[in-house]
C-alpha cells in the first residue's frame, strides 16, 4: 500500500467516524399540533423551530400539523403504538386533555417546571390548568382564551343602561330593560351546541359558586342534590324564552355574530378572538365588553396546551424545546402572529387596542379560570350536557327534569 493510499484510507475512516459520531449524537423529536391559523403563523413557527435547531446542534424537531378532527383521530390512533409524537397539542381540562393524562399518555412535567422555572414566565391563569390533573403537573400552555360579554354600547344606551352589571341579578335586570326597549338582549347560535352551553356554564358559576360548580363538573356531587342546579336550568330557560334573539336553535355562532354586528341583539358571550373580527368588521368602536358577573373572581375560558408524551424517547429534549418555545424572546416574536396576547407574562406589548388591553388586564388580574363545560366534562357527559341544555333552553324540558337527566346519565356511566 502506498503512503498516499494509507493517508486517504485514514482520512475516509476518520470522516466516517465523525459522521457516525454526529449521527449517534443526533436527537429527534416530533411535534404534532393543529394547522396554523395563517401562513404568517406557520412561517413564524417554522423560524422558531429552525432557530432552536441552530442553537442545539444535533437536535431535530419535526412538526406535523393537521386539522382539528384529523389531529384528534391521529393522536388516538397513535396512542396504541410507539409511533406517536414526543409533544402533542391538546386542550386543557379534564375532558379532552384529561383523558390522555388519565390514560397515562402524558408525562408529568413537575421536574421541568422546577428546572426551567416556567412559573416565572407563564401567565398564572394559563399555567393553572397544568395543576388540575392528579399525579403531577401536565403540559404547558400554548394559548389562553377568555370569554366575556361583548355589548353594543348604543343599544345599551337606548335601553337606558348606564353602567355594566355588577352581579347576575343586575345583568338580568338589564336584559329586562333591553327587552322592554324592544331589543333582544343576547345572540346565540344553537346548532353548534357549545355556543348556548356557555350561557349555562356561566349561570352555574353565578348560581352555585366556584366550589360547587367545580364539584358538579367533576361529578363528585349529585346534580339532583343541589338546588342551585335546578335554579340555573330555570334561569337558562328564562333567557331562552325572554332574552335570546329568536329563533336561535337553527343558526350557528357565525350567523349569530352577523346578527350581533347588524345590531339585532345587544350582547354576545364570546372569546377574546372576537376582537380581531370586530376590528375587521369596522365595529370595534361600537362595542365594549365586561366579564360575566359571576362574582366568583374566576375568568371563564379555556387553554390550549402542549403535552409531552409519556412514550417520548427524548423527554429532556422535548422539555428543552418547550422551554425555548415559552421563553420571552420567542413569545415576543410570536406575539401578534399567532395571537394578540401571549401566555408569557414578560412579553411587552406595543400600541394595543383598548379592547385587547382590557383582555390583557382580565388575564393578568385573574389567577383562576373556570372551564367551558365541553372542556371540563368527559366526552359522553358533554354530549348529554348539550342535549339537556338544548332541551331546556328550547322550553322542552323542565329544569328539575334536566337536573335529573344529567344525574341519571352520570349515574349510569358509573
Amino acid at each position: 500500500m502506498t503512503k498516499f493510499a494509507t493517508v486517504t484510507s485514514a482520512a475516509i475512516a476518520a470522516g466516517l467516524l465523525l459522521v457516525a459520531t454526529s449521527l449517534s449524537a443526533a436527537e429527534n423529536i416530533t411535534f404534532w399540533t393543529l394547522n396554523f391559523s395563517s401562513e404568517a403563523a406557520n412561517k413564524a413557527f417554522t423560524a422558531v423551530v429552525s432557530d432552536f435547531e441552530a442553537a442545539n446542534p444535533g437536535a431535530e424537531v419535526t412538526v406535523v400539523t393537521r386539522g382539528t378532527d384529523d389531529h384528534k383521530t391521529a393522536i388516538r390512533v397513535a396512542a396504541g403504538t410507539d409511533k406517536g409524537p414526543d409533544i402533542y397539542f391538546m386542550w386543557a381540562g379534564l375532558g379532552l386533555g384529561g383523558e390522555y393524562v388519565k390514560a397515562g399518555l402524558s408525562l408529568p412535567l413537575d421536574k421541568y417546571y422546577a428546572d426551567y422555572k416556567w412559573d416565572d414566565e407563564v401567565v398564572p391563569a394559563a399555567g393553572s390548568f397544568s395543576r388540575m390533573y392528579p399525579g403531577g403537573r401536565h403540559g404547558v400552555p400554548s394559548s389562553l382564551s377568555g370569554e366575556a360579554l361583548y355589548y353594543n354600547k348604543s343599544l345599551f344606551a337606548k335601553a337606558g343602561i348606564t353602567s355594566t352589571p355588577a352581579n347576575y341579578d343586575e345583568l338580568v335586570a338589564d336584559a329586562e330593560k333591553l327587552k322592554a326597549a324592544g331589543i333582544p338582549a343576547i345572540a346565540f347560535g344553537g346548532t353548534v351546541n357549545w355556543h348556548v352551553m356557555r350561557l349555562m356554564d356561566v349561570i352555574l358559576e353565578a348560581k352555585c359558586g366556584a366550589e360547587k360548580h367545580d364539584a358538579l363538573t367533576a361529578m363528585t356531587v349529585k346534580w339532583t342534590d343541589e338546588a342551585c342546579v335546578v335554579q340555573s336550568f330555570g334561569e337558562l330557560q328564562k333567557w331562552g324564552k325572554n332574552y335570546i334573539l329568536s329563533p336561535f336553535m337553527g343558526i350557528d355562532d357565525s350567523q349569530a355574530f352577523n346578527l350581533f354586528l347588524a345590531n339585532r341583539a345587544a350582547m354576545m358571550l364570546e372569546g377574546d378572538w372576537l376582537v380581531q373580527q370586530l376590528a375587521e368588521a369596522g365595529k370595534i368602536d361600537d362595542i365594549d365588553l365586561f366579564p360575566f358577573p359571576t362574582r366568583t373572581n374566576r375568568l371563564y375560558g379555556f387553554a390550549n396546551y402542549y403535552y409531552v408524551s409519556s412514550k417520548s424517547k427524548n423527554p429532556d429534549l422535548a422539555a428543552k424545546f418547550l422551554d425555548y418555545l415559552l421563553s420571552t424572546p420567542v413569545q415576543q416574536k410570536l406575539l401578534g402572529v399567532s395571537g394578540t396576547t401571549s401566555i408569557n407574562k414578560n412579553v411587552t406589548y406595543g400600541e394595543l387596542r383598548p379592547m385587547t388591553k382590557k383582555w390583557l388586564d382580565l388575564f393578568n388580574t385573574h389567577d383562576k379560570v373556570f372551564l367551558n363545560g365541553d372542556q371540563a366534562f368527559p366526552l359522553d357527559i358533554t354530549t348529554e350536557y348539550f342535549r339537556v341544555i338544548n332541551e331546556v333552553v328550547s322550553g322542552n324540558m323542565a329544569p328539575a327534569d334536566a337536573a335529573a337527566a344529567m344525574q341519571t346519565f352520570i349515574t349510569n356511566k358509573g
Binding site: Y100, G190, S246, P247, D380
Partner: protein
C-alpha cells in the same frame, strides 16, 4: 397443454375473474364488518392498550340507558318510510313526464338529475342557508308575502327539523329514482301499450296494467336502494343539523358515528352499527325474497 386445459375450465375462469374482487371485498367489507361485530362486545376508548370484554353490556346500555338511541331509531324508521314513499313517487312522476316527446326533454332530465351529483355535504350547506330563519330564501319569501310571523325555525324546531332535513334529501335524491325509472320505461313494450289503447284502455289503465307491471324490476331496485340509503342516512343530516336540536334529528348511522368517532366509545358505536346492520338485513332480505318470488310467479 395441461395449463390450457385448466384455463379453459369455466370454473377456473370464474375463480380467476372473481378472485381479485373477492379479496378486495373480504379485506375492505367482510373483515371490517366482522371486526365491528367483535368490537361491539368490548369496552374501548381508543386509548387504553387493552380492550375490556363486556359481553352484551354495550347492547344493554344502548337499549336501556342511552337517552338518544330510541330517538335515533324512531327517526331512522320515519326517514326510511318517507324515503321509500316520496322520492320514488316523485321520481316516477318525473320519469313519466320526461318520457314524453316534450320540448327540452334532455335538458330537463339533466336539470332534475343535477342534484344527485352534488356532494351531500354541499347540498346540506346550500339548504342550511335557504333555511336560515333570518336571511334564508324561504324566510325571505314568506316575509315578502307579509307572513313574517310564520317563518319557522326550520332546523331549530324539534317538531319540524327532521322533515326540513328530509326536504333537502328529497331534492337531492329524486333525480336518481327518475333516471332508474326512465331506464325502466325504455323497456316497456310499445306494442303492448298500443294494443291496450286499441282495446280502449285510458291513460290510467295503460299505466296500471301495462307500464307499472313492466317496471316491477325497476321498482324493486329503486325501493331496495331507497331503503338501504335511507337506513344509513348520515351526511345530509350531519351537514344540516348535526343531529340537533337536542339530538332530535339523530339517525342510527349518525349516532353510531358520534359514539365511535366523537365520543370515542368504540364498543357502543359498534353495537349501534350492528343493530343498524341487523335492521337493514331484516328489512331488505325479506323484501327482496318477496319481490323475487313475485317476479318468478309473474313469469
Amino acid at each position: 397443454m395441461a395449463e390450457r386445459a385448466i384455463l379453459s375450465n369455466t370454473r377456473v375462469q370464474a375463480a380467476l375473474l372473481l378472485g381479485p374482487a373477492l379479496v378486495v371485498y373480504v379485506v375492505f367489507a367482510v373483515f371490517p364488518m366482522l371486526d365491528v361485530i367483535w368490537l361491539s362486545f368490548f369496552k374501548w376508548n381508543g386509548l387504553d392498550p387493552v380492550k375490556a370484554y363486556v359481553g352484551t353490556a354495550n347492547y344493554v346500555d344502548v337499549f336501556t340507558k342511552d337517552p338518544v338511541f330510541w330517538v335515533a331509531f324512531r327517526n331512522t324508521v320515519i326517514w326510511t318510510a318517507l324515503s321509500v314513499a316520496i322520492p320514488p313517487m316523485i321520481g316516477l312522476a318525473l320519469a313519466l313526464g320526461l318520457n314524453q316527446p316534450i320540448f327540452g326533454r334532455n335538458s330537463l332530465r339533466a336539470i332534475y338529475y343535477l342534484p344527485v351529483i352534488i356532494a351531500s355535504i354541499a347540498v346540506a350547506t346550500m339548504w342550511r342557508w335557504m333555511y336560515d330563519p333570518f336571511f334564508g330564501l324561504f324566510g325571505q319569501i314568506l316575509t315578502s308575502l307579509g307572513l313574517q310571523a310564520w317563518v319557522p325555525d326550520w332546523l331549530g324546531n324539534r317538531d319540524i327539523a327532521l322533515y326540513s332535513a328530509f326536504g333537502a334529501y328529497v331534492w337531492q335524491s329524486v333525480g336518481f329514482s327518475m333516471v332508474l325509472f326512465l331506464a325502466g320505461l325504455q323497456g316497456v313494450n310499445k306494442s303492448l301499450v298500443e294494443a291496450a289503447r286499441i282495446d280502449g284502455a285510458g291513460r290510467w289503465a295503460v299505466f296500471r296494467y301495462v307500464t307499472l307491471p313492466a317496471l316491477r324490476t325497476t321498482l324493486t331496485i329503486v325501493l331496495v336502494l331507497a331503503i338501504i340509503s335511507s337506513l344509513k342516512a348520515f351526511d345530509i343530516v350531519y351537514g344540516l343539523t348535526g343531529g340537533g336540536p337536542a339530538q332530535s334529528t339523530q339517525m342510527l348511522a349518525l349516532w353510531a358515528f358520534t359514539q365511535s368517532m366523537q365520543i370515542f366509545d368504540f364498543g357502543r358505536g359498534s353495537a349501534i352499527s350492528v343493530v343498524l346492520l341487523a335492521v337493514t338485513l331484516a328489512v331488505v332480505i325479506p323484501y327482496m325474497r318477496w319481490s323475487q318470488k313475485r317476479e318468478e310467479t309473474a313469469e
